[in-house]
């Protein structure tokens, strides 16, 4: 299968700040590629370079066979972009927004109008088609923005944090739409800070930090990299959290994670369910009350922690 997106050694500096430091990725046609990382990791800069909005200081990239710098003009007819700031015009209606994009794609007046109606219908916006976008909800704006990216039916679609700031229902609605597009053969590059989103949508995931890919693989491959199952349990007091940590230390196959605020322990273990039984037995012997306990597969959050030494959300706060 040919590759829809190839990027090698992309570098972008803003003064002393290095936004991209040798970023590289390959996305086969018809697949979904997830760029996962905290704010400031270089996800948006990568998307801006691949969509011709920004020139890299070094490295090169091709999208749909076109060089993003040399063939930028021709490439633009083959991509769709939907960003984290919905690029829609407040004073225009939903239909007018999409018709404008169609005309700027040179589809002609009649075809632009037809296409706008098709997309509004598909994104459940027909009822709001002739209302100014100013009155739209966040989820509706995001759907309209995504519709705008699809006007010319592009083979490659870039979605920069498509669900950031959306409520859970709107997010799940958007996930459904993206899944349909992919089923139709569109190649998608998606950036997200939500581990669940990458897990759910992406065929392959690149974990990005400090402008570089630090890990690459399917969600399962990445989870396997950090070892086996986790026991996760919560207790009723800080004192029992400490004694539980002490009691269970011999069972841990890796670094134990102690969340003092939530009174929760996460312990990587080797033995699966048997380890959980063993752990609960030891805690009972020490008379430590367990509020909640379970065994789970590693999440992408664990992947992130083991790769960067920080949890994704902590990292985000630190940078913001």
């Amino acid at each position: 299968m040919p590759d829809a997106i190839v990027a090698e050694g992309l570098v972008k500096r803003y003064g002393d700040v290095v936004a991209l430091d040798g970023m590289g990725l390959t996305v086969p046609e018809g697949s979904v590629f997830g760029l996962l990382g905290p704010n400031g990791a270089g996800k948006t800069t990568t998307v801006r370079i691949l969509t011709t909005l920004l020139r890299p200081d070094a490295g090169h990239a091709t999208v749909a066979g076109f060089d993003v710098v040399r063939d930028a003009d021709r490439l633009r007819a083959h991509i769709g972009v939907s960003g984290q700031y919905a690029a829609v015009d407040d004073h225009l209606t939903g239909a007018e927004n999409l018709e404008m994009v169609g005309r700027l794609h040179h589809l002609g007046t009649r075809r632009s109008r037809e296409r706008a109606r098709e997309l509004l219908d598909r994104f459940d916006l027909t009822g709001a088609a002739d209302r100014p976008v100013r009155g739209y909800s966040g989820g509706m704006r995001r759907r309209l923005d995504l519709a705008g990216a699809l006007v010319a039916g592009p083979p490659v679609l870039f979605l920069d944090e498509p669900t950031t700031g959306l409520d859970p229902r709107a997010r799940i609605g958007l996930w459904k739409v993206i899944a349909e597009l992919v089923a139709g053969g569109t190649t998608v590059l998606l950036t997200t800070q939500y581990l669940e989103e990458a897990d759910r949508l992406a065929d392959r995931i690149a974990v990005v930090d400090h402008g570089r890919v630090i890990a690459l693989g399917t969600a399962d491959e990445l989870k396997d990299q950090v070892g086996g199952d986790r026991i996760q349990l919560s207790v009723t007091s800080t004192a029992s959290l400490e004694s539980a940590a002490r009691t269970l230390a011999p069972l841990a196959a890796g670094d134990m994670r102690i969340d003092a605020a939530a009174l929760r322990l996460t312990i990587p273990v080797a033995g699966g369910a048997a380890a959980l039984t063993e752990a609960l037995g030891r805690l009972a012997a020490e008379r430590i009350t367990v509020r909640d306990a379970g065994l789970r597969r590693p999440t992408l959050d664990d992947v992130f922690l083991s790769l960067t030494g920080q949890r994704a959300d902590e990292k985000t706060e630190e940078i913001a």
């Binding site: 011709t52 909005l53 991509i79 690029a87 004073h91 225009l92 005309r103 700027l104």
Partner: protein, 267 residues
């Protein structure tokens, strides 16, 4: 040829988009229709009741000044709208489309020209109500209106340049007010520049606003034999010098704004 056709088609699309915006935005529409009405009435009745000129009414003398003040104010909408659009993602959308990159600025300035036509029509009607009259041939009057519009269009590119350099609506508004107030009032728009004291006089006489106001007065016939004609060189050749100013502003600020636009959006 194909590139040019593309640029024109895209320019028209963007112009339509901006015209729709103006129609739907009450603040912009207020600036276009209400402000000129307020200007004409306020200046005619407040200053007009205090100032008298030999051989002509103050309304006749002042209305060309109001025309120029209003179009320089309206031209700032170009800059203001650009800074607002810069804050949103809309330019990113435009730049990922296979459209002519020049269309964004030509579309913006052209829609503002349409707006300025609306302003001038409004002011003309209100002006006629308060006693302003055209005393020249229809051809000269038409030339006067076209000259005002050409200057307004050129000035839109100036405000576009300033806006793209400053980037935020708040900063732009402050700077635009700070620059446009002295530009309009340090001129012959409301007073005779020859009677200004010391260093203010040459500034007012060489101010392009003065030249344009004088040219408009001549082309509309709002002069009086009893009011002495200005002696300063640019004011003695007001019509050609006004046209020269407009052409000069376009020659400098069209390329400058285009370059700044590319820089502003590729961050």
């Amino acid at each position: 040829m194909n590139t040019l056709r593309l640029a024109v088609a895209d320019g028209v699309t963007i112009t339509k988009r901006n015209a729709l915006k103006i129609r739907r935005a009450p603040d912009l529409l207020g600036g276009v229709v209400m402000l000129p009405i307020v200007f004409v009435l306020l200046f005619t009745y407040v200053f007009g009741s205090m100032i008298s000129l030999p051989g002509m009414s103050y309304a006749e003398y002042m209305l060309p000044g109001i025309f120029v003040m209003t179009i320089t104010t309206s031209a700032q909408i170009t800059g203001y709208t650009l800074t607002q659009d810069l804050q949103k993602g809309i330019f990113d959308r435009f730049r990922t489309l296979p459209m002519s990159p020049s269309a964004v600025l030509t579309g913006q300035t052209l829609s503002d020209l349409i707006m300025n036509v609306t302003s001038i029509v409004t002011m003309t009607l209100v002006g006629l109500l308060v006693g302003w009259r055209v005393h020249t041939s229809p051809l000269e009057a038409l030339l006067g209106f076209l000259m005002l519009l050409l200057f307004a269009y050129a000035f839109s590119w100036v405000t576009a340049t300033v806006a793209l350099a400053l980037r935020t609506p708040e900063v732009f508004n402050n700077v635009a007010t700070l620059v446009s107030l002295p530009l309009v009032f340090l001129s012959n728009a409301f007073v005779d520049s020859a009677r200004l004291p010391g260093p203010l006089r040459p500034i007012a006489e060489w101010n392009p606003v003065s030249t344009l106001v004088q040219a408009a007065r001549e082309l509309f016939g709002n002069t009086s034999p009893a009011v002495p004609a200005p002696a300063a060189w640019p004011l003695r050749h007001a019509v050609p010098v006004s046209l020269l100013w407009s052409v000069l502003l376009l020659a400098v600020f069209v390329p400058l704004a285009t370059r700044l636009y590319k820089r502003a959006v590729s961050r």
